[in-house]
């Protein structure tokens, strides 16, 4: 019986094989390929970028394609794992022979993948990476789009200063991007004369923050800057409430900007500060094409685009324009076009410096009545920040 089962398995595997054999490429098609986290801990933000990529490809194809060729997407899943991502990019370049590369998500994965595409001289605009060390290594084939990680807590710290907060704790996940956010937060705090009484990183997948939160309270901090992703930020806030620990301010980074955040936490999410690269507010930000992009995204995916979606779409507009300028899909020509391009996108202005970094100013928002409201910088603020946060018992 076992032998029969084995035989059946072999047959099934053989039957599946032809499906897996490389993406056949028609002459009038151009393949854009990338590995982006569709499963794992980055799936939440990266999934929004996948949405934007699909939307963009369809938009371009509706307009008749790029340089007369239809775009075909080859999106693989790196499972939020760095090693997998590196392998998949090698495969995309050497086996699948994609014409243009799409960036992965998260600073840590981008940092690793940047070595691969650099070697094959295939450029991309890194819509998923904000840690500046990636651009400090003299790489020539990677371009940034977003505000750097070091500035994620800048707005929150300005607001802390205004609220009269003197001691803060900075915590964050132990990986490239959150660590850089922490480094930047410490620098901004020093500049503003705010004392950092505790700075700690916790391992990925940490779920129980009880002891860490008690430790923060014991350190005398008045505010928590949490350089977190999604699940960890949610856990920290829930546990703060469970432990009845009150702080004047809680500022997250990526988590509060995701649509599910306020939904999952309910009233616990109120007054939390978060950082955003972009918000779907055409009347406030006034970037060209925003209204159309937001409407199309909402219609197709049933939710407002968040900043991850906006960043990806903007980066692809940049890529599209650069390809048109270069008149070719060739990596070297595309690289030169990306380096010299100066344009406006739905995400904002794109013009990189010699290191390949774009200058972009982020936004700090506060969750008020379940909605993200921009509270910093003042030039685009929708509300004034409601700080300090009320105690848990008074909610």
């Amino acid at each position: 019986m076992i032998r029969r089962a084995t035989l059946a398995m072999v047959v099934v595997v053989l039957a599946c094989l032809p499906l897996g054999v490389g993406a056949a490429q028609a002459a009038d098609e151009v393949v854009f390929g990338g590995a982006i986290s569709q499963t794992g801990r980055f799936a939440e933000p990266a999934g929004r970028q996948v949405n934007a990529i699909k939307l963009w490809a369809d938009d371009v194809n509706k307009r008749g394609g790029l340089l007369g060729r239809k775009i075909k997407l080859l999106l693989l899943d790196d499972k939020s794992d760095t090693q997998t991502a590196v392998k998949l990019y090698e495969k995309l370049i050497t086996e699948d022979k994609v014409n243009v590369l799409l960036a992965p998500y998260s600073s840590a994965i981008t940092e690793a993948v940047a070595n691969v595409n650099e070697r094959y001289k295939m450029p991309f605009v890194a819509y998923g990476a904000a840690a500046s060390p990636i651009w400090e290594k003299g790489r020539k084939y990677i371009f940034s789009m977003v505000a750097v990680a070091e500035d994620y807590q800048k707005g929150a710290l300005q607001l802390a200063k205004k609220t009269g907060i003197k001691k803060i704790a900075i915590i964050g996940e132990d990986s490239l991007f959150p660590r850089q956010v922490g480094v930047g937060a410490k620098q901004w705090a020093d500049k503003l004369g705010i004392q950092v009484v505790l700075q700690e990183n916790y391992p990925q997948k940490q779920m129980d923050f009880t002891a860490l939160l008690q430790k923060i309270k014991a350190s005398g901090a008045e505010a928590i800057l949490s350089d977190s992703y999604f699940a960890d930020a949610v856990a920290q806030l829930r546990q703060l409430r469970e432990l009845n620990l009150n702080f004047k301010m809680f500022s997250g980074t990526v988590g509060p900007g995701l649509p599910n955040f306020a939904e999952q936490l309910g009233s616990t999410a109120e007054y939390v500060l978060g950082f955003s690269q972009w918000e779907p507010l055409p009347d406030v930000l006034k970037y060209p094409g925003m209204k159309e992009f937001i409407a199309a995204y909402r219609q197709r995916f049933g939710e407002e685009p968040n900043y991850h979606a906006g960043t990806a779409y903007g980066s692809l507009q940049v890529t599209e324009a650069a390809i048109k300028n270069a008149g070719s899909f060739d990596g070297q020509k595309l690289r030169d076009a990306l380096a010299s391009l100066d344009m406006m996108t739905v995400f904002g202005h794109y013009k990189v410096n010699a290191a390949g970094m774009n200058q972009h100013e982020g936004l700090t928002f506060q969750i008020l009545k379940g909605k993200r409201r921009i509270v910093w910088p003042e030039s685009v603020a929708e509300n004034t920040a409601e700080l300090p946060m009320p105690e848990w018992s008074k909610r």
Binding site: N201, A211, L212, K215, A218, R241, L243, N260
Partner: protein, 359 residues
């Protein structure tokens, strides 16, 4: 069966592991071998040092203070570590049970925990059932799932080298992850059940959900223990764990025992999943964390030992909390401390706290 000797002695006074109770005691408590006694003293000395170390480091870095406020923080943290340990024990006991009876290392145990979390989530959001009430029907579902698993998959691996079972369950775990991803996507889910705080004293507060989880964990664990200790079926399970061949000769239908054991273990994992789901967020991949945790606890406590698993859970829960609270950047070192403890205990007592239960 010469290796049976190992199962005796070695337990701290005041505990009586359900399973060793039935093992033949060739040596009374007074007659423990000298090496055995020495390793016990060594273990006790080591544990005192291990638990004192965070305090010493804390005093050195001035994170330990003697004032009342700090002692309350300490109390809260130890308490929450203890409560956490109770919940970990639930799935560690399930894991140790399958190993004890069938010598199968169930690598899909964490995925069963994850399944429990999703079953609870579905009944909470779609059927509007209270997470504790939903145990009434999720546990029978889990029990049937476990039986089906045994019938279709695990029966073939009983008696094979331990690697076979490990590989099969590893594959099963992957299948469960991807099925869950297909149905629920990879989004993190949380169940906003009992989110409020319980003020134990004016300064010590603990989450309602933590208390509820712990209480349920105690009820279920005691129930399982009584079942194993008192009922005919429970005794048959223990007999099979001790020696399947002799149990068979005595007229126990061991195929049936295997079915029930896996069913029970799956139910325990799902119950554990329900209890963690009301405390922490989860997605289809969180199971791996729980598998590792359960493994560490089972190895620490002694493979196949129920009481060992209980003690191991509390030990890990509390040590993790102490390290995280007092050592600078301690949260990053929690795993180092946990696995360091594990390795040290194994060096002193290779069979774990309670020794390996051999069949």
């Amino acid at each position: 069966m010469a290796h049976r000797v190992e199962a005796v002695g070695g337990e701290p006074p005041g505990t009586s592991p359900a399973a060793t109770a039935a093992a033949p005691r060739r040596l009374g408590r007074g007659g423990m071998e000298r090496g055995e006694v020495r390793s016990l003293y060594l273990l006790a000395a080591f544990l005192v040092c291990a638990y004192a170390l965070p305090f010493v480091i804390g005093i050195h870095y001035r994170t330990v203070r003697a004032d009342e406020a700090w002692l309350h923080y300490l109390a809260t943290v130890v308490l929450s570590g203890f409560l956490q340990g109770g919940v970990y024990a639930m799935f560690a006991v399930g894991l140790t049970m399958i190993f004890g009876v069938m010598r199968i290392i169930n690598a899909a145990h964490g995925e069963m925990v994850m399944m429990g979390a999703y079953l609870t989530w579905v009944s909470f959001f779609y059927l509007g059932v209270d997470p504790l009430l939903s145990l009434l029907f999720t546990l029978p579902i889990a029990f049937l799932f476990g039986m089906a698993l045994q019938k279709l998959l695990l029966n073939a691996t009983v008696g094979q080298p331990e690697l076979t079972g490990l590989l099969v369950t590893f594959g099963l775990g992957l299948v469960m992850i991807y099925v869950a991803e297909l149905i629920f996507t990879t989004d993190f889910r949380t169940i906003p059940y009992a989110p409020r705080t319980v003020q134990l004293t004016s300064t010590i507060a603990i989450g309602q959900n933590k208390l509820v989880s712990f209480a349920m964990a105690v009820v279920i664990s005691v129930g399982v223990w009584l079942f194993l200790k008192l009922t005919r079926l429970g005794k048959a399970i223990r007999a099979t764990a001790l020696n399947a061949e002799v149990a068979m000769v005595c007229g126990i239908n061991i195929r049936r025992i295997y079915l029930i054991t896996t069913g029970l273990a799956a139910a325990l994992a799902v119950a554990g999943g329900a209890l963690v789901s009301i405390q922490f967020g989860f997605n289809p991949e969180t199971g791996a964390v729980y598998t590792l945790q359960a493994f560490a606890i089972v190895i620490l406590g002694g493979r196949g030992h129920y009481v060992g698993a209980l003690i191991g859970s509390f030990m890990l829960g509390i040590l993790e909390s102490l390290v995280s609270l007092m050592v600078p950047n301690g949260t990053a070192m929690v795993e180092l401390a946990a696995y360091g403890l594990l390795i040290a205990v194994l060096l002193i007592r290779p069979g774990g706290l309670m020794g390996v239960k051999e069949a």
